[in-house]
Amino acid sequence: MEHRVVITGMGIYSCLGENLNDVRDSLYKGKSGIILDETRKDFGFRSSLTGMVKDPDLAPFLNRRQRLGMHQPAMFAYMATKEAVENAGLDIDFLEKTETGLIYGNDSTAGSISETVDRIREKKDTTLVGSGAIFQNMNCTVNMNISTIFKLKGINFTLSAACASGSHSIGMGYLLIKQGLQERVICGGAQEINPTAMGSFDGLSVFSIKESTPTKASKPFDRDRDGLIPSGGAATVILESYESAIKRGAPILGELIGYGFSSNGDHLSNPNIDGQNRSLNMALKQANINVNQIDYINAHATSTPAGDSVEAEAIHRVFGGKTAVSSTKSMTGHECWMAGASEIVYSMLMMQNNFIAPNINFENPDEITAKINIIAETKQQDINCFLSNSFGFGGTNSSLIIKKIKK
């Protein structure tokens, strides 16, 4: 028997705000979270533009031992997961006595690794890095920390799939619940936000260099786009079987009805229309809906010249030119490993509040992006069903479809 999969909680810690309400307001206002981080120039960056979140003070919530193994990915994920668990009506006592899984997207721990290696080089003694370093440095840092803090007893692994990590994590949670293997899975994505994490990415010269106008620099789909802007934070969603949500009297925020995925199998960094189309079509087929039933597409579009064109073409081939499209990366920058999860949260907030967040800084299309319906200003509109795209290096593609459950 297949199970329906619903979302019963969400949490967000991003450059648009540190909680759902603040992020909702930023999305509605089209507020950018991009700043110029001068320290990046000293570090050798070509572009110092970045989204920014502060390291949260976890001392009021967690004891010393719980905090020691956490660097940015786990710290951000904790904040997002705490909010999601609370608004799903869950608590640690309940989680400890039931079976809840955790599949979190993360694909780097560069900040903690560089600090650890610097310390070993300075001290020439591995013991003197302390007991927390190993738990900060492993790529599964979010899962190790969050699963022990929240006393989770179900599936427990980290998913690394470049900039589609967060999206695939939700897709995998969906499949496990759909098949009846888990009742509830906490999914999400985390992205560290420090120079060491993004130096090698900046080295590819793919970041925007519009440094004199940080909030206007991310221009997905615009003809004058010149590159992406890195960002970070974390986003969490609580997936649950419909039966479990009803049994608990949990809030049902939406239903996940389609997860499409594919691999391009060609180039390390270049996108591929065919690969993206296969992911989109697989999600639509699984959702058993036609393209006209999708009210909004949250595009992956990162503001790179090549990437946005390929996605616009892929969307046009499947949906034509009418479906409303925006890229929230115009405000957030590229939240990389977190993006696939955060963009589900952003789109859910739009669905809950009946608006489409704008693709800010979109002034002029190019020949290809002119083919699709890009929403440049906040638009009041009911969203009954949306699709969110995430594509990553190595040619990994993921598309998720979520619909509103009528009350």
């Binding site: 004891n63 010393r64 031992r65 020691l68 001290k123 003694d125 013991t127 003197l128 890095v129 302390g130 007991s131 927390g132």
Partner: protein, 82 residues
């Protein structure tokens, strides 16, 4: 560094590192129980001792160390050897 200074220094960094009230760090109190140390915490104890006194303790050094008083004596001995 005299014993009194050692005691004050130790109380300061142990209470901060292990988040325990200074008043609980008494000469005859058990170090492991008071600080609630597990195997991982001993690694961090080595780190804070090195940061504050400039020497590294080993597992062997801790054999026979039960109370804070015994720990102060260990620090005195290690500082004298420097």
């Amino acid at each position: 560094m005299n014993r009194e200074t050692i005691i004050e220094t130790v109380k300061d960094f142990l209470s901060e590192e292990f988040e325990v009230d200074k008043s609980k760090i008494q000469p005859n109190a058990n170090l492991q129980e008071t600080l609630d140390l597990d195997s991982l915490d001993y690694v961090d104890l080595v780190v804070v001792i090195e940061e504050n006194f400039g020497f590294k303790v080993t597992g062997e050094d801790f054999i026979g160390i039960g109370t804070f008083d015994e720990f102060y004596t260990l620090v005195e001995k290690k500082l004298a050897e420097k």
